[in-house]
């Protein structure tokens, strides 16, 4: 039983440490926190089924991304039918961050305006502290491309953020 307790504790620590970052990453693909949490839950189950090591963070993020894209594909038809409603939803997207002031709100809005391929690299780098090697593995791109997207994201943010200030 001690063995069991130890493994459960390890697992809980793992979820507590990686969970918030994974949910933020999943939020780049969906509009609601609830959907993002469902994605993370499914991703953990899929990751576990494949018997991957929990140490492999790049693969864990790749799994979250894969689950999110599957969900988007599944919902694509429905989304087309609900195009009008979807336009309304765009304005009621739940914020991803807690804000201390208006400046942070502007910065978050600038992040939302980034193309998704830049945003996902930014989220993995800034709030999940993945290396470019891990980001490259998660996205199936080269490290140079990952680094370029990160720089493009920062450049765009700097431009947009300053413009909105």
């Amino acid at each position: 039983m001690e063995n069991v307790v130890t493994h459960e504790e390890n697992w809980k620590v793992c979820i507590a440490e990686l969970g918030p970052g994974l949910v933020l990453f999943a939020r780049q693909f969906v509009r609601s926190a609830a959907d993002a949490e469902d994605i993370v839950q499914d991703a953990f189950v899929r990751f576990w089924r494949k018997q991957h090591s929990i140490e492999n963070r790049g693969l864990l993020y790749a799994t979250v991304r894969s689950v999110a894209l599957d969900l988007l594909r599944r919902d694509a038809r429905r989304a087309r039918r609900e195009a009008t409603a979807s336009a309304d939803m765009e304005q009621t997207t739940e914020p991803q961050f807690n804000f201390d002031d208006g400046s942070q709100r502007e910065l978050a809005a600038a992040i939302d305006r980034l193309p998704v391929e830049q945003r996902e690299v930014l989220v993995m780098k800034i709030w999940n502290e993945l290396t470019f090697a891990e980001i490259a593995e998660a996205l199936g791109i080269s490290q140079n491309t990952a680094a370029s997207r990160y720089r493009y994201a920062l450049a765009a943010l700097k431009k947009n953020f300053v413009a909105h200030e």
Binding site: N3, V4, H7, E8, N10, W11, K12, C14, I15, A16, G19, P20, G21, V23, L24, A33, E37, V40, Q41, F44, V45, F47, W48, R49, K50, Q51, H52, S53, I54, P95, Q96, F97, N98, F99, D100, Q104, L107, A108, I111, L122, I126, W127, R151, L154, A155, L157, K158, F161
Partner: protein, 171 residues
């Protein structure tokens, strides 16, 4: 050389919204259900099944024979309602038929995940002449209450160990 360092510092000050407190429990239950359903070792994130999975073919054959006998006896003893058949039992069952719109927490679901079952063989209890088969099950139960009016929910998960004595009739 990094002219984005100020911007990076500003970005790091942004705090992602915390995940909901029950997400961890949801993931735990999902993985436990997977473990119970597949009966395989995990990637190190869940309790690993212990020596049972290192058994040799002879042990496996004996185990299957014991399981078959157990099932046969369980069917024969109709005077006792059958409980857990072993392996994994998953019962996400609503406890209340239709939730009334009252502003109080009412039980809404019970989930049982049996992750280990061990047949401890035949035992004679209380000087009885009749042998009893003792089966020990380790499970995790989750009980959920819901407030139908507000939609708030409360979930409690706890480990449980159950010993079942099954009468064995001579044939």
């Amino acid at each position: 050389m990094n002219d984005f360092s100020e911007l990076e510092a500003e970005l790091k000050k942004l705090r992602p919204r915390p995940m909901s407190p029950d997400l961890s429990a949801r993931i735990e239950i999902s993985l436990a259900q997977e473990a119970a359903g597949r009966g395989t070792a995990t990637a190190g994130v869940l309790p690993k099944e212990q020596k049972r999975f290192r058994m040799n073919w002879m042990g496996l054959g004996l185990g299957l024979a014991a399981a078959a006998t157990f099932l046969l006896l369980a069917r024969v003893n109709v005077d006792r309602p059958s409980k857990s058949p072993g392996l994994a039992l998953l019962t996400p069952a609503p406890l209340t038929p239709a939730a009334k719109a009252v502003n109080e927490f009412v039980p809404s679901a019970l989930t049982q995940v049996v992750y280990d079952t061990k047949d401890e063989g035949l035992h004679y209890t209380n000087g009885s002449d009749e042998p009893m088969r003792r089966v020990r099950s380790r499970k995790r139960e989750t009980v959920q209450w819901k407030n139908p009016q507000t939609g708030a929910s409360l979930r409690v998960t706890y480990p449980k160990e159950e010993v079942t004595l099954i009468p064995v009739s001579g044939q």
